[in-house]
Symmetry: D2
């Protein structure tokens, strides 16, 4: 070991005493009353007029960028989104209050407060419906990857998301060069 | 447009009628009673003997791989982990029941049921303590990145995690070649 | 610093004297004569019958997985690929021998031995043509990302590559939900 | 299929006739004479005073960001870098002129013009030495990942690179919490 690390600067100062602003760290916290008081954003899914929800992004409000964390309220009779699946992003739901009819691969299950649903990337298509009588409130959490592919099986559509660009196509227009007989398509 | 897509195979079969096994999709659901009945894993943090929790990985149980989603129960008097921050992974906590004393950058806040804390990558160091009198139960959610760096500021330690390898060092032994006067260290 | 690293195992053994097999490390080397003797793979681009080349993957042969490194030979009169651009992957070419007509965004440039072309992700569409009289030989190097989008502007086609799945569509069938007037499409 | 894509805007305008500036696309090209005329950057490795090279980044000059592509000239008697390996980035070398003594895992091989060396991530440690009598010129290409770990086995040092931050440590100070007997350290 011929070289001494002593010639290099330390990576972390041991004399850094900069006080943190209490206001700054407090911004990481959203109390129940603050969440209740957030106006939220009224969202209608771009492919489903009955997918209506009030969305409060707890993650955005506290500075998260790599996780989407949403407090979602779905009125009686409405759906959470258009029935869909993600090929690359994991998603999950935790029910806070109300009841939900969850459809997974066209099979329906009833959910209530305290129930959890994990929706692995590439897994079953899913949608929530609120059968009433109360508003359905849940936490919806998802990865935020730079690249994802989503399917809307009931509409025969596929959505490619790449670095913020959204491309929507009908699945009947999508072909697979690798699956074609005689293809020599390979790796770059 | 000289070439017809008609020569290629469709990417998605429109005649695929394979029925999904109802048992398989039901594995995505964990009902409240099932979560209560999970034995959980007793965890003690490798750097803090008083960081004791019962951990139920809701994400692992339902097939998630890109998100860590945990139902965590912390007994009275114990802490959630060793006081730490992640440089690259976002984390967040939603309190389900009980009370918590949350420390963020050495400032303490009291939390209760329905409160949310977002801990952005690179953000304030954090730890939860359960002051009693009940068990503290919360959801803890985090990214699962291939690469991360974590700091334990009270112990002066840094943990490098790369593709499953964990390397722990004392910060006094870490130097920064780029910060060194006269350095010409650059991009590859 | 209340905790001693001494209780942990070292990350790297200092007594590991396993000898490396000389045959194994020699596999990283391809000498000029070995490259010449490789049979190569005759490739015709799946969208262009005149894009004919003999491809020797120097990277694959030496165990690289994150970089594509190819020795490419293009016969007189043929093209390198179908005219295209990558939205997310960088590519570059170094001419070893012969002459090339390089088209960049429909402008043509003549290249010869020792010339270099960098094709940044999202940059100009490109293709090489060998005007003769000799075979054109070059090194072609590219990123191998898990996700990419490629365009074939002369054919009006787009190729989405995600984790090994290839989806080809005609651009006339691709719509942008975010660009639609009145859209409230947002981040997850 | 209840919803028509016709309500959405096309993703790619078919009437976009913006002419590309010829000057702009020409910046992707570096001719042999231009490469020869580049002054280059004199680099000395921060851990090895005899690792002296003139570095011309062909990739940077043409706008590449995801690939490092360098024309490197090493004077007689000098080395390319400090003997090292990357745990996560692939690297490779193509010899343009001169001779090289390549050391791979402490075994030495002679290289000359037209020889190629692939250095897979995690593979053998490597360094080039120029035994003369001419300058050694080669192309050196590497991935540019956000996160990497590099080892300098002759110096017993490890370099962690994360999002531009460089942390250098002596391997004797690195411990592995997961390898420790009795450890229950697990996934997040």
């Amino acid at each position: 070991m011929v070289l001494e690390n002593a010639k290099f600067s330390p990576a972390v100062s041991t004399t850094d005493t900069t006080p943190t602003n209490p206001h700054d760290v407090a911004r990481c916290i959203l109390r129940r009353a603050q969440i209740d008081a957030m106006p939220g954003v009224a969202k209608v899914h771009f492919l489903n007029d009955n997918a209506r929800r009030t969305n409060k992004s707890l993650g955005d409000a506290t500075g998260l960028t790599g996780l989407g964390v949403h407090h979602v309220e779905i009125p009686v009779g409405a759906e959470s989104t258009e029935y869909h699946l993600h090929h690359h992003e994991d998603e999950c739901v935790y029910v806070l209050s109300g009841r939900a009819l969850l459809t997974l691969d066209e099979q329906t299950f009833e959910l209530e407060s305290g129930d959890f649903v994990g929706m692995p990337a590439g897994g079953p298509a899913h949608v929530l419906h609120n059968p009433g009588p109360e508003p359905l409130r849940c936490l919806v959490i998802g990865q935020r990857l730079t690249h994802d592919v989503g399917d809307y099986p009931r509409l025969g559509k596929r959505l490619y998301r790449n670095a913020g660009q959204w491309n929507l196509v009908d699945l009947v227009h999508v072909v697979d060069p690798k699956a074609t007989p005689g293809s020599t398509v390979g790796n770059k």
